[in-house]
């Protein structure tokens, strides 16, 4: 791993340099996955040149609100995170686990081949990189690692794009995950404005990154370029107004499990699960078995949500039968018990769950409301009946 302080390895490139990067990655056999505009949102698709990227597109986000508009500027990365995240590259929304072939009572199981070429993620945001590191702990940091996740993730190449234009829903500054990033990537880009259109500071974060940057052209970065980067990041950080008291929230939620705010939010939440599906760290999954027309059995693994009634089903019924229980499970897991389970917060402050909630529930507001009357109701211990 090279040091991010290794200024000599850093480059300044123009848009042609980025095309060179995409070409170099494709030549190495990567699928280059980057941001594109589809159906009114910035999403992730295979990209082959900078012509595919969201040039001149900008977003407007608020609780329950996401809109794009187009200007004729030549920026490529002047937008904040959309509904998709790198999660789907490493942990697909649906995947085949195995399929059987059987002759009489003899059943044989086949595992699918790891399908496609490794991914090079272009323009992942610092909070998305933080989210990948959270998922690394969940799927690959425990005693039993997930080989499918691990292979996809270890094979991947990550080009981060630091944030100059955060959305109103962002709160990475509270979670310590953005708008800049110092390690964990292969290459990091910062989009800098200049009279002749955007230029990109490219920093190296890994040995693989160093190999690729050598093929990019461009000129060595100067101290003034680093000063421009600092200005971009400072300006971005200043624009972020949303806050969450990350130092306090773990204990706050653990000691307010009966707070009246849970009733309030439960009356608004639709239990639709949008928040969990857009969240870059939500990892819940379920398996389902189906029988194909030729009689083979297939098991698929798919994303699941703790807002689904069946998530907590045991034979006596669901453990969390109401939206009250399920919203509380989601928020306390994200911000409190995730620390117990995986040694990190489950929230990176990307704001997706705020923008994509159809009724605009905002986790920073919910936490603040609980903090405002901390201890309103002491934890209630039931002495009688029970779910079993």
């Amino acid at each position: 791993m090279l040091s991010h302080m290794d200024l000599s390895a850093s480059l300044i490139v123009d848009r042609a340099g980025l095309d060179g990067l995409l070409g170099a990655l494709a030549a190495r056999g990567y699928r280059t996955i980057g941001p594109v505009v589809r159906d009114g949102a910035v999403v992730q698709r295979q990209v082959s040149s900078t012509g595919d990227l969201p040039q001149g597109w900008h977003d407007e986000q608020a609780p329950g609100h996401y809109r794009l508009h187009h200007d004729d500027d030549s920026s490529l990365f002047a937008w904040a995170v959309g509904p998709e995240s790198p999660k789907s590259e490493f942990y697909p929304a649906r995947s085949l686990v195995w399929r059987t072939s059987s002759t009489g009572d003899v059943v044989t199981l086949e595992q699918p081949q790891q399908e496609s070429a490794p991914a090079a993620l272009i323009g992942s945001r610092p909070c998305e990189l933080a989210a990948m590191r959270v998922l690394d702990r969940v799927f690959a940091g425990g005693e039993i690692p997930d080989p499918c996740y691990r292979d996809r993730r270890e094979g991947s190449f990550v080009v981060v794009a630091e944030c100059g234009t955060p959305a109103a829903t962002c709160f990475c500054t509270s979670m310590g995950t953005g708008p800049g990033v110092e390690d964990g990537y292969d290459l990091a880009l910062t989009e800098l404005t200049s009279p002749d259109g955007p230029r990109y500071l490219v920093r190296v974060g890994s040995a693989r990154g160093a190999e690729v940057i050598a093929e990019m052209g461009g000129s060595p970065a100067q101290p003034a370029d680093f000063a421009s980067r600092d200005a971009v990041l400072e300006n971005a950080a200043r624009r972020i107004e949303r806050k969450l008291d990350a130092g306090n929230v773990r204990q706050l939620l653990a000691s307010n499990l009966e707070h009246p705010r849970w009733d309030d939010v439960a009356s608004r939440c639709l239990a639709c699960g949008n928040c969990t599906l857009v969240c870059p760290t939500c990892f819940c999954g379920a398996v389902s078995d189906t029988t194909t027309v030729d009689g083979a059995v297939e098991r698929h693994r798919r994303w699941d949500t703790c807002f689904d009634l069946a998530h907590s089903l045991v034979h006596t019924g669901p453990v969390r039968a109401t939206t009250w229980s399920r919203y509380r499970q989601w928020l306390t897991h994200k911000l409190s018990t995730w620390h117990d389970q995986f040694g990190t917060s489950g929230c990176v402050g990307c704001g997706r769950c705020i923008a994509w909630c159809p009724v605009g529930i905002d986790i920073t507001v919910e936490v603040a409301a609980i903090a405002a009357s901390d201890g309103a109701v002491p934890v209630h211990i039931e002495s009688g009946g029970d779910r079993s």
């Binding site: 009572d105 039993i144 990892f283 389970q341 039931e382």
Partner: protein, 282 residues
Amino acid sequence: MLLTEVEPSVNPLMPATYRVVARRVETDDVVTLSLEPTSGPSLLFRPGQFNMLTAFGVGEVAISISSAPGAPGPMEQTVRDVGAVTHALCTAKVGSTVGVRGPFGTDWGVDELDDSEVVIVAGGIGLAPLRGAISYLVDKPGRTGQVYVLVGSREPDQITFPDDLERWERDGAVVKVTVDNGDAHWHGAIGVVTTLLPTISFDPARTVALVCGPEIMMRFTVRGLADLGVPLGSIRVSLERNMQCGVGWCGHCQLGPLLICRDGPVFAYSEQLERLISERER
């Protein structure tokens, strides 16, 4: 990268195929399957651990291993028919194939109990996850601590493993059974399983208790044991939640800070665990 160095491993989501070599009906809705691998050696496990069992074409569920490790004969798993997958397993024919992933989770820790008195309290199908532990304790040469087996069942014809109960008693354990509702042929104790606790005399300071059954039963049993002087930390319980993976990836088995498949299913009791299983869900 940022990932821990690990050996390239087999995919823990891939079941091994096992053949049903025997099927024993325990009660009207409980069946014990004897399982042998279709190739290679049978898996190594410790009493209290569970497997994810697949009924091909129906689905996969968590089922504890009910035989003792090292016991002669195939591995056994005892299933109560409560839904689609358990029904398919209970009706699996001898000779058919099931999928087995495991063993997963923590165990009862029976090999550290040579000098302890062991009080085992089971409610209903909760005897299945304890059965291997009891046989292991009763059969282990050189153990000095007495083994007490207290079993509660709803009705007399729901009592599982009657042959084992007799055998354990013959081999030195104190075995007591109670039913919630008796019938004309029942001459034994009537009442919930906690009513059996005062009928045995054990040294609470030297005792380890292993408890498995519905959560409400486990909470009352823990209270009864604590009232008799057993320290909370000497009481172990086995918990159950929905499980889709068994390996800590699916999130379904969460209980507050715990992932039951990874941190359990067997837990040492504590004030914190009491709070977790008593915390109100709605």
